[in-house]
Symmetry: C2
Subunit: 448 residues, 2 copies
């Protein structure tokens, strides 16, 4: 019988996260204070983030960062996640490629997001924080943060993008079961939210609006920190536990990936699975390709511009050197709520600029078609976000079929879609459409 799944024992789990910044030849450019245009120092971030997270954010020297023992203990609740050989999918495509996926959907909250939520909640608790705020799109990150906050005895307030709050009520319920307060954004509870609603009473929300509100509430609440589920470098750092495990598991399978593929929202799931493999490209010249799959309706990597921009709609955050569609960009209401973000993390932006990785854009119908094929072949309903990685994988596997090549493809199944079934319903009913953007629309929100 051919082995389908590969696990690590608790003793084999990573004890350190991998900080790719230490190995990058061209380091990410500095974050800037928007008022002074001076580079941000860790202490400038302390009012917003836990101090240790602020230091991790800007750490460009230490290659390995110890995972605190308490976080490692919580990781053992669901890690290692399985590395799975997708025999079913290979057969369905008829490809000679060897397809593997790292199944992060088996985390208690259903996605990779918990890897960073546990770390962030831990550091907040260590530093005496009592309350945390955050934003969430589809709700994967909010669910993870709500659960992690509960485990560490913190109160959590989650601003959920309004369109997702309405489209995906199950995620809201899950967060509430974990005891979090959930507010649809834009809301009237913050100045940022009120301003946005004054300008546009029908604003459907975006990660940009939710971040503005969560940042503002954190700054207004005593003993409260803001937490973020992607984009920032410390979030990708925590997610490297995925790739570090996958590295060992691929070794168990006796293979090494020719391609590593992940969907792309802010970059943490992509960075999480890619960076540990990318260090062998940087340090040893391995030829692996790294492919970020973003939605065609929010194409910051393939059609955005590299420039300094804000991380949120209102402009509360530092200026980040990144590929962006502009912080006022309003993504179409695609069902992959977690990919509706205007910018890319600073590390990934630099790597893309330097040609160490590639990006492809996937339209909505192609993503759901890929998701349904995968579901039938492997029995797992993928999150609409993860469907983008699957679609990119299928494209490559079909190329292998045409060329008769047995390449090894590894992709990250970042989460399951069990609470996204209304999206699948609409796809099956033929109600979904593709959204593409003209150059004029893309240019509209970009300003130097």
């Amino acid at each position: 019988m051919k082995q389908k799944r590969f696990f690590l024992s608790e003793a084999e789990l990573p004890t350190q996260w991998y900080n790719i910044q230490a190995d990058m030849v061209n380091k990410p450019m500095p974050l800037l204070n928007p008022a002074t245009r001076q580079p941000i120092k860790p202490e400038d971030l302390y009012p917003l983030f836990a101090e240790e997270l602020s230091r991790q954010e800007l750490n460009q020297t230490d290659r390995w960062i110890d995972i605190p023992e308490k976080v490692r203990e919580m990781y053992t609740y669901y890690r290692s996640t399985p590395l799975v050989r997708a025999y079913g999918l290979e057969k369905a495509i008829g490809t000679p490629a060897h397809i593997y996926f790292k199944n992060e959907s088996v985390s208690p909250v259903g996605s990779h997001k918990l890897n960073s939520a546990l770390a962030q909640a831990y550091y907040c608790k260590q530093e005496g924080v009592t309350n945390v705020t955050t934003e969430t799109g589809a709700g994967q990150w909010g669910t993870a943060l709500a659960y992690a906050a509960r485990l560490f005895g913190l109160e959590a307030a989650v601003f959920q993008v309004k369109i997702s709050y309405e489209q995906k009520p199950y995620r809201r319920s899950i967060m509430q079961v974990f005891g979090a307060q959930v507010i649809p954004s834009p809301s009237m509870t913050t100045r940022a939210g009120k301003d946005i609603l004054t300008r546009d009473p029908n604003h459907q929300g975006s990660l940009g609006t939710a971040i503005s509100e969560a940042v503002e509430l954190a700054q207004m609440t005593p003993n409260c920190k803001y937490t973020l589920g992607s984009v920032l470098s410390h979030v990708s750092l925590h997610q490297t536990v995925i790739g570090l495990e996958a590295e060992k598991q691929m070794e168990m399978a006796g293979e090494y990936p020719d391609m590593v593929i992940a969907c792309f929202g802010g970059g943490s799931n992509f960075g999480g699975i890619s960076f540990p493999f990318m260090r062998h490209k940087i340090l040893e010249g391995k030829k692996t390709r790294f492919i970020a799959a973003e939605p065609a309706s929010c194409p910051k990597l393939t059609k955005g511009k590299f420039e300094y921009d804000f991380g949120d709609e209102t402009g509360y955050t530092p200026l980040l050197p990144m590929f962006t569609l502009g912080h006022k960009f309003r993504p179409a209401n695609i069902h992959a709520g977690g990919l509706r973000y205007h910018g890319a993390g600073v590390i990934v932006s630099q790597l893309l600029k330097d040609g160490l990785m590639e990006a492809v854009d996937i339209n909505q119908l192609e993503s759901f078609k890929a998701g349904c094929l995968f579901a039938k072949a492997e029995g797992i309903i993928p999150a609409p976000e993860s469907c983008h990685a699957i679609a990119a994988t299928i494209r490559e596997a079909v190329k292998c079929k045409e060329a008769g090549e047995s390449k090894v493809i590894l992709f990250n199944l970042s989460g399951h879609g069990l609470v996204d079934m209304t999206s699948y319903d609409q796809y099956l009913a033929g109600n979904l459409v593709n959204y593409s953007l003209s150059d004029e629309e893309i240019a509209r929100n970009l300003t130097e």
Copy 2:
């Protein structure tokens, strides 16, 4: 660091199912042909079920039944499931008890049901069947069968209890993604359904009505067999893979259960985790207690009567010797749709009669309270069905706390509740109630 989860390697997975009938001192009484009152022979079941399943159903002599290699291969897609030490739950209760759970919710379809669905679809395919029908309550079984049918290239028609079809649309969508046809029962597509709707146009459906319809459709369709997700002995047989794994995993943890607990609908998840441990009670006199947790609104084990009764509402099935509330019993619309069945499997019924196991009834509010406590402590949203096992576990853990005893409790987490969030919503909003039955109501549907 204390070990939280225990896995088996593929080489350690069971290669045979355990047939407790071979070891029972008092075998289950025979199934009867309702017309002749003569005991049913395997060949009497061939028109309805795959032949191998019919033989397994009535096999009272072979202790071990080989798991076909193809089924074992599909098992490796998600098995072993983890045995988990519930440190979080223990802490939340403050109990000295050691609580373990077998986490069947990590199966691709989210519950233990796949263990039997794969076996049933396999045997059907082997015997040249092209179509299968079945019933489903909350949708866990229907989802599993839909996926298993897809894997083996069979067409599946699933009759879903109407109240669940409406309350839980996500499960329907999942079945449809897997390519199954889903029909709310009672429907106008069968004679049984029409008769039921003629008597009561507002009938909300029950597993009894859905079984009648699925049986009828199977009999009317060429090359089609009926499949069942619980109650029958061959279903429990397949589910023993749960307990056989748990036995080895408990050994890895260095403990042996004083109590084994599972929720109870028809008995397959209970039998699955219990029977392998119960053989040590039967053969070696081990003192383990076995506790079936049923809903107070459908109390066949605690308040039903042991008698011959039909398995379905219309009376298409053989007569089964079982604890029953009567085949016309209409359960209240509790959210644990999978536990709304009027009878218990014949093996469990005999074991209960012989005092080898116990049963407790749990009301709806207690079940959801337990589920929310578990979710906060362990991060997994349990299925409303599984909440009953958790509630029974908490009762015992509290007794341990009061007595200062470190007993070892093992329960089966039969599935997750991620697609049951409307139920949790209603619980959190205070909209759920308890249903209890008067002796008169119970007597009404019972006839000799």
